[in-house]
Amino acid sequence: MTMEKKYKISYNENNVQGSVAYILVKEFDLTPNILKAEIEGDGTGKMVLSVKGEPDVIDRGIQRIQDAGYNVIPLCSHITRDDSKCWDCGACVSLCPTHSLRVDPETFEVNLGIETCIACGACVNACSVHALKLVL
């Protein structure tokens, strides 16, 4: 059974970000997806990565990344939305860095795509009816 897990990975100038995805694909046949990446001027940076695959393979892949000197923190929080409260105002849409909150161009309803959410929390206090919550 495949599953998806998300991690926050910090790196420095000695371990470039690209090789993380490379290792996970080549050595473990996992499907990584970089949801967000930030590189500072000094070569250090952070990224949020989602990894799809068999749970034990994901664990081994992540262990390998840690052994390679990256700092890896699993993202265990995620966003939930109480759809019965949401009134489709759209206030949250422009705050989401990963475009996980989108307006449907046909119905103009606001949809939440949980797969790309990096649990940054930016949308939570923009919602006037407290429909969005970060759950740990």
Partner: protein, 383 residues
């Protein structure tokens, strides 16, 4: 050929009225041409569902035995007005509980009452010879009080601005959460569906106009507060907030889906209300104005990090705003609507079905709204 209200109502009663929403009408006119469409179409329905702080409700609790003249009144811990007669009150939408972090205010009390919930009433008064009681603590619901009607001094802003933030920190405003360095911008009009953008000079909307208010029926009671006719027009509609409507309606008919208490972070409480106004197609000029599209309606981008004197940075039309981003000086700014376009569509659609089913007739206004009005500012007097 011009139609009259009576002719349209006759067709509504016999369920023959031809009704379209302000979105649907454009296609109809494109297909049939304005002359033919003006003859065939009876009513165009509009809708809006956005935040409007200038909202509230009048309630009469009924008298207890022995009776009390209430001066300090709390509903679910929200202070409401004690400055009316013994058991009358006005629940202002933005009134807040003592603990401002609660995120609960007058608008939520109104939403809860409409949803059929019971609300905690705690009131005290001075105790007089005619009203001997000094305190009461009980629960009320819409079933056990007398009158309960929404009275919103200002709703349906004709158009409104676009807010952004050029400063280096996130600001929290009534126009929502604005990220630093113009990372986003917010706007709030329903554009082509909005009542006062489809009848921009209030040729048909006036005092007495029968409307959809919060899921029930209501009326336009007066011009709204801050009504003005001075903003510049582009394509026949103002580019900023101009005309507004004061609205009244029976809370018992309403649906809590269309009357929502809002807690706007860093600002306070507001209320979202679904409002729909039917426009009688009395002649082709009125129909022509209902054909306005989002491409033709402009709003002005301003910087909300400035405390005052926010001048226009650039104009954008609603079709651009609804794409999710706009460009300013070569950079992309992401956009958010603050009012629900899907909600506005539902309002216009529901009102359309009421009219089609003969359940809702039009009322000819008993008086027109002001043709010209300017806005005054508050000045400080120095001794």
């Amino acid at each position: 050929m011009a139609k009259t209200y009576e002719e349209i109502n006759e067709r509504i009663r016999s369920r023959k009225a031809v009704v379209y929403t302000a979105e649907e009408i454009m296609e109809v006119v494109k297909k049939k041409g304005i002359e033919k469409a003006a003859e065939e179409v009876d009513v165009v329905t509009t809708g809006t569902f956005g935040a409007m702080c200038s909202s509230g409700a009048f309630l009469n609790f009924g008298h207890a035995t022995p009776p009390i003249r209430m001066t300090d009144i709390l509903l679910n811990d929200v202070p409401v007005d004690g400055g009316l007669a013994a058991v009358d009150t006005y629940v202002g939408a933005t009134s807040l509980t003592k603990d401002p972090k609660g995120g609960y205010g007058g608008a939520h009390v109104i939403e809860d009452l409409i949803a059929g919930k019971s609300v905690h009433l705690h009131a005290s008064g001075p105790g007089t010879d005619c009203y001997v009681r000094k305190e009461i603590d009980t629960y009320i619901s819409l079933d056990d009080i007398n009158e309960a009607y929404l009275y919103n001094p200002r709703n349906c802003y004709q158009n409104y601005g676009i807010a952004t933030n050029t400063s280096g920190r996130t600001i929290y405003t009534y126009m929502g959460k604005l990220l630093p360095r113009m990372k986003n911008a917010t706007y709030s009009s329903a554009g082509q569906l909005s009542p006062l953008l489809n009848d921009p000079h209030c040729d048909t909307i006036g005092i007495g106009t029968h409307i959809f208010l919060g899921g029930g029926e209501g009326y336009v009671s007066w011009q709204g507060t801050q009504f003005k006719t001075t903003p510049e027009e582009v394509n026949g509609v103002p580019v900023g907030g101009a005309r507004t409507l004061a609205l009244i309606g029976d809370m018992r008919q309403m649906d809590a889906k269309y009357v929502r208490g809002l807690d706007i972070t860093g600002y306070g409480i507001s209320m979202a209300v679904g409002v729909g106004v039917p426009i009688p197609i009395l002649n082709k000029d009125i129909l022509q104005r209902c054909c306005i599209t989002d491409e033709q309606i402009y709003a002005e981008l301003t910087d909300y990090s400035l405390p005052s004197g926010r001048s226009c940075m650039q104009r954008y039309n609603y079709a651009e705003l609804r794409t999710g981003s706009i460009e300013y000086e070569g950079r992309k700014i992401r956009t958010s609507s603050l009012s629900s376009y899907s909600g506005a569509r539902k309002v216009a659609g529901e009102l359309k079905s009421w009219v089609e089913n003969g359940e809702f007739e039009l009322v000819k206004p008993i008086r027109a709204l002001p043709r010209e009005a300017k806005l005054k500012s508050l000045t400080e007097e120095w001794m």
